[in-house]
């Protein structure tokens, strides 16, 4: 029983982190039909920026709680600056290109940003544990937990609700739906599709960076952290259905709980199960568990 509770909580907090990172990826895919490999860079940059500034301000004597402000600010700043730069400089010129070329271009951007991290932040790992230390711990079913990781679950729920409200209840959501359904129809209806693309990409970038910034206090922020994240979020997005927010929730939950179960019972399968499930879902329901069926165009 204790173990089951432990698996659930470990799985849920891991799922929340996966969801926060992946939701940006799925939104960008849904609207722009771009599978953005550079999403791993948003994550890494968010983590680095948060860790760097938390360490800096903590060293200057700022209180621990200021770390939470820094996490939010880092995510917004990274998403706005890098997201805007990529959309304006690279993607803007590529919307007419083949899918593969766009995918590869984002891979190129990913490689470049990986090294820019080294040049900007140096090669040593950063530890920004102050926010996690501030919130302390709580005992649940015999296992002591850090409260910080539990708050990530709350953050994920807030983000999911915000995305849902934005899509289902606002004018913005309607515009997005039109663009998602067909770019040309959107253009014909007088929607500024270019502006929609910019806002979408920057919002997705901010969410990716927020994933990194929020998780930063719980890990050692070191070169290469974006590499594993990008395939994991691909798995999440594919399992749930590319472009679907409900899908990202389900995908994140499945991956998170599976991984936690594997670590507790068969640690050797920790990575394998994730991609086995991804392959299985693609084989049974290629469009993902939550994507609507599409007509075959001739």
């Amino acid at each position: 029983m204790q173990t089951i509770v432990a698996v659930l909580i470990d799985g849920l907090s891991y799922s929340s982190y996966l969801f926060i990172v992946s939701v940006g990826l799925t939104i960008i895919f849904g609207v722009m039909k771009i599978l953005n490999v550079a999403h791993g860079s948003f994550y890494a940059w968010g983590a680095y920026a948060a860790a760097y500034f938390i360490g800096l301000f903590h060293g200057m004597g700022f209180p621990h709680w200021f770390g939470f402000v820094l996490i939010a600010v880092s995510a917004v700043a990274v998403g706005a600056i890098i997201g805007l730069a990529i959309e304006r400089i690279i993607l803007r010129k590529m919307y007419e290109h083949e899918e593969v070329h766009i995918l590869l271009a984002t891979f190129g951007v990913f490689l470049i940003l990986e090294d820019v991290i080294l040049l900007v932040f140096g090669v040593n790992p950063y530890f920004a544990y102050q926010p996690m230390a501030l919130l302390g711990s709580v005992k649940i079913a015999g296992v002591t937990r850090d409260v910080y990781s539990l708050t990530l679950i709350g953050l994920a729920i807030v983000i999911a609700l915000a995305c849902w409200l934005c899509l289902a209840r606002s004018k913005w959501g309607k515009i997005l739906k039109v663009v998602i359904f067909d770019r040309e129809i959107g253009l014909a209806m007088g929607i500024n599709v270019n502006a929609v693309y910019v806002y979408t990409f920057v919002a997705g970038a901010m969410l990716g960076a927020l994933g990194g910034a929020a998780i930063a206090p719980t890990l050692s922020v070191s070169p290469g952290i974006g590499i594993d994240v990008i395939v994991l979020s691909f798995a999440v997005v594919v399992i749930g259905g590319m472009g679907s927010i409900a899908g990202a929730i389900i995908g994140a939950l499945m991956v998170g709980l599976l991984r936690a179960t594997a670590v507790h019972f068969v640690p050797e399968l920790e990575l394998f199960v994730i991609f086995a499930v991804m392959a299985a879902v693609l084989m049974v329901r290629p469009e993902g568990l939550f994507a609507p069926a599409r007509a075959r165009r001739i």
């Binding site: 590869l104 891979f107 190129g108 090294d115 040049l119 395939v231 590319m242 920790e270 693609l282």
Partner: protein, 318 residues
């Protein structure tokens, strides 16, 4: 279909690789190494080129590349095999075998779904290798020098000649395949699959065949890489970044000719070596920037640099 020797590409490939094999004997060892690594990658890229002609892009070809490399390593671990022919055969058979099985599934997928399913399969293999101690986990295995019919050459020049021969053979096979009726069908599938289907041609089967060929090429490439390097490990053989690199070289090389992948592979290897030497902390930056530059300014790859002047020359001759 023209006869084999009449095909200009076949002649070019034969002459090119013969010259390379001879030149190898006069080049310093480090250049020979880089050329071999480049040829090995080029062979895998040739596999991607075949798929690309069908309009498919695999983001998981490291699956077969890694499988070929690990076949060589495991053949040695389990059975002490160090001979070139069984090593290479093992790599090709294992990769081709899995390609044949997975082909039944993958042949139903196109576009982004094909790419993602390939990625999932390759990462599943990565997940197994990284976490299994008996398969070497993160360390992988060392691969001892390759023996050639009982003879272990002192230098690596002989090995380069063998690799060049394998690559030339593969390039010619692919050239013949693409020129065959089945091969032309793949191009038609890319252009409009449903029309091909309505015309009564077996689309799924032709994609399956292409896929197996592509897997075998990547398997051979991985096997050669393992032998040339003397080491296999999951992060540089099976991880998704390897698949990404292979697709990158495909685009960089251009899909215009079966010789292009090898030129692309060797160029990539030298870019990487020099980038790493010049700026150890910025070599990925240089590689990434090259990738973007190619996509923007040379969308048909390096091959278009060779093709254009060549065509001009021919026109003038006519």
């Amino acid at each position: 279909m023209r006869s084999l020797t009449g095909d200009r590409t076949v002649r070019g490939v034969l002459i090119g690789f013969t010259l390379l094999a001879i030149a190898g004997f006069f080049l310093p060892a480090w250049i020979v190494n880089n050329v071999m690594f480049g040829l090995a990658r080029g062979l895998a890229v040739l596999g991607l080129l075949v798929l690309l002609r069908t309009g498919l892009v695999s983001f998981g070809h490291a699956l077969y590349f890694g499988l070929g490399a690990y076949s060589v390593a495991l053949l040695e671990q389990l059975a002490g095999v160090t001979e070139l022919v069984p090593r290479l055969a093992g790599a090709v058979v294992v990769a081709g075998g899995l390609g044949w099985i997975l082909g039944f599934v993958l042949r139903r997928y196109r576009g982004i779904f094909f790419a993602m399913l390939s990625l999932a399969f390759s990462m599943a293999l990565y997940g197994i290798l990284v976490k299994t101690e008996s398969l070497g986990s993160t360390d992988g295995f060392s691969v001892s020098p390759t023996v050639l019919f009982g003879w272990s050459p002192e230098t690596r020049h002989v090995f380069l000649a063998m690799v060049a021969a394998v690559c030339a053979f593969a390039a010619i096979v692919v050239q013949v395949y693409l020129a065959s009726a089945l091969g032309h069908l793949t191009t038609a599938v890319r252009d409009n699959e449903i029309r091909v289907e309505y015309l009564g041609y077996p689309v799924a089967r032709s994609i399956h065949t292409t896929y197996v060929l592509s897997a075998m090429l990547a398997g051979a490439a991985g096997g050669i890489m393992a032998m040339a390097l003397g080491q296999v490990d999951p992060d540089s053989m099976v991880n998704w970044t390897v698949s990404g690199e292979l697709v990158f070289i495909t685009i960089m090389a251009g899909a215009g000719n079966v010789a292009a992948p090898f030129i692309g592979g060797v160029v990539f290897e030298f870019i990487r070596t020099y980038a790493f030497e010049l700026a150890p902390h910025a070599w990925q930056l240089i590689v990434g920037a090259t990738l973007l530059a190619i996509i923007f300014f040379l969308p048909n790859g390096l091959w278009s640099l060779i093709e254009k002047p060549w065509k001009k020359l021919e026109k003038r001759r006519d």
